[in-house]
Every structure is written in structure tokens, then in C-alpha cells.
């Protein structure tokens, strides 16, 4: 009788997402960034996401083009790999003419290089392995109609447009036609348009989606680490394992000082994610979405998630945290859910002696 079994235990976790916060760089740094990313592609999941967060596109275009070239080279050699390239940038233009200029000079240029993957997808009757997802940070003076024109044009060339909305442009969510054309909306809970803040808010949004999906699909969702990710700051070359590490400025390495991707990944597997406060990170995020212009249904699901986190804190003996989560949950949940949340809240108050 031979042996048999699963392969899962033999395979190290792959990186699912890399966020690169772009900045003005000299050519030497771009070379090193490009080399690092090219090396990291081999450690990325079969289907993965690369986020390039730029301030403005004209300034970052050389970096985006260079990284796109690296991605294409990797995908050509590895037919089993799929990559979604999200490039985040402000669109300061407010008129159709100005937006059209963006399309002609930037998007078309990036799209042209990826046509071979559209053709490959068509021949194999499958979604292309390389998808471009522009994430537009609109100007607060922009008219929805102008954006709709841009989004339609992007979709027409198989680019899936997303929006990043900070508080100054929340009014855009009122436009149903615009929202219907948007692949995904990311929210910023402040007015900051700094790439680092945008990257953090996008990470938050993805992590919230992940937690909500787990809450739906798992009988007993115990929050573990987020999907394996890396955050790289192009400004100083620091690489971080997750948002918690980024916020606390606890970098793994400096990619401009260390040339070895293998060494970076060894550090990642050995140290990166073992000391993180994953429950704290996941539990902190839903609150920041409470007053965003999202649907009532989504708010209620966030309410359920907060209640779940409250229970986890209670189980861990931290009733102060638990009460905080229940209180937040109560504000977001439906009337039908209020009974059992109030019960838990009462229990929490009793335990901390405030009743």
C-alpha cells in the first residue's frame, strides 16, 4: 500500500496582495523596486492583486509602466498565473475634455500593452489573466456625468473602473448611474488624499470584506491573520507584512538596502505575521465604516460583525472591549437583532460592574 494525502501542509502561504505606495523616485530606486517586485511575483498566489497607489498619474506613469512591463513578462512565462493590477490615482480634471485627455494619454497607453492577454482570454474562452483596474480618486468639483463617460469608455476597452471616495466626494454615491458603472467603491473616512492614507483605507476596505465573507461562510469565525499581503513604500523602500505593521512602522526590511527577495520572504515567513494583533486590527475597522454612505444592508452586516467581535472579546475576558463593540453594533443593527445585542451588552456591563 502506497502513501497518500493532501499537499496543503507542504505548501507555504502565497502572497495574495501587494500594495505599493508610489512616490517620486530616482531611477536607481525604480530599478530596485522593479527587481524586488519581479522577484516577489514568484511568491504571489496564482490569482493575486497588485495595488499601485499614486498621487497623480502623470508623475507616476514611468513607475506604473515599468511595473506593468514586469508583470507582463512574468505572466508570459507563467501561464497559470492571473494578476489584477489596480492603479490608484487622482483625476484632477473635471470636464469631459480633460478626462478624455487622461484616457488618450494614460489609460490607452497602459491598455495597449495588455491586449495580448485579452486575445489569449478570447481564444481560451476565459477571462483574461491580466486585468487593469484603474481606481480613480475624483476631484471634488467633478460632475457625475463626466465620470460616467470615462467609466463607460474604460469598460469599453476591458478596464474595470473603481472609485476611491473621500468625504469631499461622498455626494457621488447619490448618483445611481455612476455607482452602477463602478466595479468597486473604496472609501476614505477622512479628506486625506495622501497615497499612504489611501493605501491604508483600501487595505481596511478589503479586510472588512474578508471579515464579512468569513462571518457569512464560517460557522464560528475566529479572526486570524488577513490575507497574506505586503505593503511597500517606494519612498523609503520599507516593506511591511500588514496594515498593523505599517501603522506601527515595524518594517521587515528596506528593499533599497537588501537586494535579496528570498531573504525578504524568509523574514516574512519567520517573523512577519506572528506578533500581530489580528483580532484588534479586524475589530477596529468596522467602526470606521459606520457613517460612510453605504447601504443599510451592508451596515447591518457590519453591525453583526461588530457583535461577533464583541462576543470574541467577552470570551477572551475583555468585557470593556466587548461592551464597546456591542454598543457600536447596536447602532448599526436592525430592530430584530437589538434584543440579543442588548442582552449581551447587559451581560458586559454587569461583568465590568457598571450596572
Amino acid at each position: 500500500m502506497g502513501e497518500s494525502g493532501s499537499c496543503r501542509e507542504m505548501i507555504k502561504t502565497a502572497i495574495h496582495k501587494i500594495y505599493v505606495i508610489l512616490s517620486k523616485q530616482d531611477k536607481g530606486d525604480l530599478e530596485q523596486l522593479s527587481r524586488t517586485l519581479s522577484g516577489l511575483f514568484s511568491y504571489m498566489n496564482m490569482t493575486s492583486n497588485l495595488y499601485l497607489v499614486a498621487g497623480n498619474l502623470p508623475e507616476s506613469m514611468p513607475q506604473v509602466e515599468r511595473i506593468q512591463k514586469d508583470v507582463i513578462k512574468f505572466l508570459r512565462m507563467n501561464l497559470f498565473a492571473r494578476l489584477y493590477l489596480h492603479f490608484v490615482h487622482s483625476v484632477p480634471q473635471t470636464t469631459i475634455k480633460g478626462i478624455d485627455y487622461y484616457f488618450q494619454y494614460y489609460y490607452q497607453c497602459l491598455k495597449r500593452e495588455t491586449r495580448e492577454f485579452d486575445q489569449e482570454g478570447y481564444i481560451h474562452q476565459e477571462v483574461p489573466r491580466f486585468m487593469l483596474l484603474p481606481v480613480i480618486v475624483p476631484d471634488k468639483r467633478v460632475k457625475p456625468a463626466s465620470l460616467i463617460t470615462l467609466l463607460d469608455t474604460l469598460k469599453g476597452v476591458f478596464m474595470l473602473p473603481c472609485l476611491y471616495l473621500d468625504r469631499s466626494v461622498f455626494f457621488l454615491t447619490q448618483d445611481e448611474d455612476l455607482m452602477a458603472r463602478t466595479e468597486k467603491v473604496y472609501y476614505g473616512d477622512d479628506n486625506s488624499r495622501e497615497p499612504a492614507e489611501i493605501a491604508c483605507n483600501m487595505f481596511n476596505g478589503d479586510l472588512l470584506d474578508d471579515s464579512l465573507a468569513m462571518l457569512t461562510s464560517e460557522d464560528r469565525f475566529i479572526p486570524g491573520p488577513c490575507q497574506a499581503s505586503l505593503i511597500i513604500s517606494a519612498q523609503d523602500g520599507k516593506a511591511y507584512t500588514c496594515l498593523d505593521a505599517f501603522r506601527k512602522n515595524e518594517s521587515l526590511t528596506d528593499i533599497y538596502k537588501s537586494n535579496s527577495v528570498d531573504a525578504l520572504m524568509t523574514l516574512y515567513y519567520e517573523h512577519g505575521r506572528s506578533k500581530r494583533d489580528c483580532l484588534g486590527c479586524r475589530a477596529r475597522i468596522p467602526e470606521s465604516f459606520a457613517d460612510l454612505p453605504i447601504s443599510q444592508g451592508r451596515k447591518q452586516r457590519i453591525g453583526a460583525l461588530l457583535c461577533h467581535f464583541g462576543t470574541l472579546y467577552h470570551d477572551a475576558g475583555d468585557d470593556i472591549q466587548a461592551v464597546g463593540k456591542y454598543e457600536q453594533s447596536l447602532k448599526l443593527s436592525s430592530v430584530q437583532e437589538a434584543g440579543h445585542i442588548n442582552f449581551r451588552l447587559g451581560l458586559g456591563y454587569t461583568n465590568i460592574g457598571t450596572l
Binding site: S4, S42, T47, N78, H124
Partner: protein, 427 residues
């Protein structure tokens, strides 16, 4: 000697690769070391991770399940495997492989064999040839390529007609249960019918073969022991033998197995008594193949099913509060746009929720279907004649009555009525 078996579906969560499980169990019982890699969207697998797996497990043979939509990935994995160790032999099997033309095989540079017969006996035959140091000698059930790329076909290899002769994938413990939420069962194989859009009848020579009820119950008990209570029966016609079906359900009830089950069968193979028993035993969803609600289309598909039978079968299930799913297809031969709309209206009228498997899909013309060899007879016009020979017509066609615009229109109508955005579970 080790064999690695891989199933790839990057578009959905990995399910229990039951067919690979059977092959693994058969190889294992013949002394080979086997591992199964089920790659779904929820699997974390990088190029580097795969490299490590190959270097540590050191398979001499890798088998890949091939579907039309995963051919790129099959090619990609094959190329990576060969780049790691060019001595590793690669075999592909499954729906896309069985009837793939030799010209298609010739285009697949890194693939050494195509499995043409029953997977268990064929892969064992290849594994033994490799183990004996003569990988292309005394083979049956496969096509293979020599070092110059010339393709050779070998004689067909008969599988067992009594399925119990195949070692059980479950009882031989070849799966990882740590993430298994639903086990896939295969209590019978094949289909005796002649539906002209379907691959299964030809792949099994229009025969249907069975496991004994005892074997199925033993497997279910094993699975329950692993903490899994949801079962998905992949048999195309599980109630083909009504008395066997009743016996199986009775045993599930008498053994108190407490299951939640999904089953599919023909609408003319159910009765009120059977449906009642199904409900008692834990069948929560039953799926029927309707294909088209247009009488003039359905009668010409070779399915030999009256629409009235489907209506009755839906009612029987609904009376027992069993959820109904209907498999439907648009873009069928002879089907007009109005016929296609009639199918959508039928589903709505009979109060079947449009979601999951009830989301309709365009007919796919795959290798092995009657239509692949005879599409011209049905006035079907392929849209892309430049495709690689390892890719079949699939959904890239128009018919005499439905142009691309109408096919898109009916697809969008289904999506507009869908409760879940139109994602089908079984494709």
C-alpha cells in the same frame, strides 16, 4: 514511486476532487505514493510554493484534470513542472482530454500522455510503465507522444463494470478533511441516453454502472466520522434504478446518518413516494435537467423528456419542501429567441429560484459531444476558426436562429432575474 494528481479551478472554491480521489486510491492500493492538489480560488499557491512541493514530493508522474476553461492553467503547470524536472512525465485526463483530437495533443508541448479510457486503470498502466523504466511501452488507454512529438494512440482499456472493484477514495483516506465542508459522492457513472449536447453518454459508451448500496453506506459513515454531514451526489441520474435509490435512502434513515444532501436526476425518474423518502433522509435540494421549455426544441435534443414530466417533478419536490434547481441551456439547435425566453418564463412560472445551478448558461460544444462532430448538420457556425486544436467550439458559435446579439440578450435577461448575479455552481 510517487504520483501527484492536480485539479485546477481558479474560479471557485476547491471542491472534493472525487475522480482524482478514485485514481489516487487505486494507485495507492497498487503500491504508489500519491498526493492530490486541489487548486481553487481559496487555495494559497505560488510558483515558489509549487516548486518546493515538486522538489520535496518528487513525483515521477503528474496527472492534471483538464477542462476547456482550465487549459491555459494546465499548460502553465505542465510547463512549470518540466522546467523543474524535465524527467517528470505528465498525463492529462478529464472532459477536455478524453476526446481531444490528436492535433490538439500535438500542440501541447509539455504533455506526454492523454488519458482516453477509465482513469484508474489507465493511470495505473502509465505509472507502472514509468516505474519499469519504459514509459512508452505496453500502454493501453492513452495517446502518447514520442521524442519527436509524433502522436500514437493505444487500444482502449476497459474499466470495471462493478464499481465496487475500485478502492474507495474515502475508505482509503486520500482526502484532506480539515477544510472539507461538503463531500462529493459518485455512486454511479455514465448515462445511457443520447442528448446531443452532452459528453457523458459517449465517454461511458452509453452505459451506466453502479456501486453497491453497502459500499455507499460505508463511505457515508466514514465521511460522517470525519465531521462532514453535507453530501453532493454527482451521479447524473442517481435514481436510474428506483429500487436501489429507495434502499439507499432507507439505509440512510435506519442508520440515523443525519445528512444534508444535494442530488440530481432526470425528472421522469422520480415519484411521490421517492420524493417523500428523499425528504425524510435529508435531501435538501434536487436538480433536474430541463434544458429547454420549448417542446419543439426539447424533442430534437435526444433527451426524450416531456415538459409535463418536469412540471410534475418540480411540484412533487416543492410539496415536500425540497428546493428545486433546474439546469437549462440557451443557444440550442433549432432554438429561437422566443423559445429561449419561454424557458426563462417556465422557470419563473414554476417558482424555481433563479440562482446557483438554475442560472442558465449557453450551450457549450465540447469534444465528445455529438454536436462537435456534427455541428454543421445543425447549422451551427463557429465564430473563431483560429482557435488552438486543443480548444473546442465551446460557446463561440451562432446558430441558424440565434445570433451573438440574441445570445447576449437572453444571457442578460437571465442575469437580470438572477438572485445571485448569475454564478452557476456546476458548469
Amino acid at each position: 514511486m510517487n504520483v501527484l494528481l492536480i485539479e485546477i479551478n481558479p474560479f471557485a472554491s476547491a471542491t472534493t476532487p472525487i475522480s482524482l480521489g478514485y485514481i489516487a486510491a487505486y494507485l495507492k492500493s497498487n503500491g504508489f505514493g500519491v498526493k492530490i492538489l486541489a487548486v481553487g480560488e481559496d487555495m494559497s499557491l505560488s510558483c515558489s510554493g509549487f516548486h518546493e512541493l515538486i522538489n520535496s514530493f518528487k513525483p515521477a508522474l503528474v496527472g492534471l484534470t483538464a477542462y476547456q476553461r482550465t487549459m491555459l492553467y494546465v499548460r502553465g503547470f505542465a510547463r512549470l513542472i518540466k522546467s523543474i524536472d524535465n524527467n517528470i512525465k505528465i498525463i492529462i485526463g478529464g472532459p477536455q482530454a478524453t476526446f481531444m483530437p490528436s492535433s490538439g495533443f500535438a500542440e501541447l508541448a509539455d504533455i506526454d500522455y492523454i488519458c482516453r479510457s477509465s482513469g484508474e486503470v489507465t493511470v495505473l498502466c502509465v505509472a507502472q510503465a514509468i516505474k519499469n523504466g519504459a514509459p512508452f511501452s505496453n500502454l493501453s488507454g492513452v495517446s502518447y507522444k514520442d521524442s519527436d512529438g509524433a502522436v500514437y494512440d493505444t487500444p482502449e482499456l476497459e474499466g470495471f463494470t462493478d464499481l465496487d472493484q475500485y478502492p474507495s477514495a474515502y475508505l482509503n483516506d486520500v482526502f484532506d478533511y480539515s477544510r472539507m465542508r461538503e463531500a462529493i459522492m459518485l455512486t454511479s457513472r455514465g448515462c445511457p441516453h443520447h442528448c446531443l449536447y452532452c459528453y457523458t453518454p459517449l465517454a461511458f459508451n452509453h452505459k451506466i454502472t453502479f456501486h453497491s448500496v453497502d459500499r455507499v453506506i460505508d463511505e457515508i459513515k466514514w465521511i460522517r466520522g470525519k465531521g462532514v454531514r453535507r453530501l453532493w451526489f454527482a451521479d447524473p441520474n442517481i435514481s436510474f434504478k428506483p429500487e436501489r435509490m429507495i434502499e439507499l435512502l432507507d439505509r440512510i434513515l435506519s442508520e440515523n446518518l443525519e445528512l444534508e444532501m444535494w442530488m440530481q436526476t432526470r425528472a421522469d425518474l422520480v415519484t411521490k413516494e421517492l420524493m417523500k423518502k428523499m425528504k425524510q433522509a435529508g435531501v435538501s435540494v434536487i436538480a433536474y435537467g430541463l434544458e429547454s421549455a420549448s417542446e419543439q426544441v426539447l424533442t430534437r435534443l435526444g433527451k426524450h423528456l416531456a415538459i409535463e414530466k418536469v412540471v410534475q417533478a418540480i411540484k412533487m419536490a416543492q410539496q415536500q419542501e425540497i428546493e428545486v434547481e433546474l439546469f437549462t441551456i440557451f443557444g440550442l439547435p433549432y432554438e429561437t429567441f422566443d423559445d429561449a425566453v419561454k424557458t426563462l418564463e417556465f422557470v419563473k412560472k414554476n417558482k424555481v429560484k433563479i440562482m446557483g445551478n438554475t442560472n442558465s448558461q449557453q450551450m457549450q460544444i465540447y469534444f465528445g459531444t455529438h454536436l462537435t462532430g456534427h455541428y454543421k448538420d445543425y447549422n451551427i457556425r463557429p465564430l473563431n476558426t483560429d482557435r488552438p486544436a486543443y480548444i473546442s467550439i465551446g460557446s463561440q458559435y451562432e446558430t441558424e436562429y440565434m445570433r451573438t446579439s440574441e445570445l447576449h440578450k437572453i444571457q442578460n435577461m437571465w442575469r437580470a432575474h438572477s438572485l445571485d448575479g448569475g454564478k452557476r455552481i456546476v458548469s
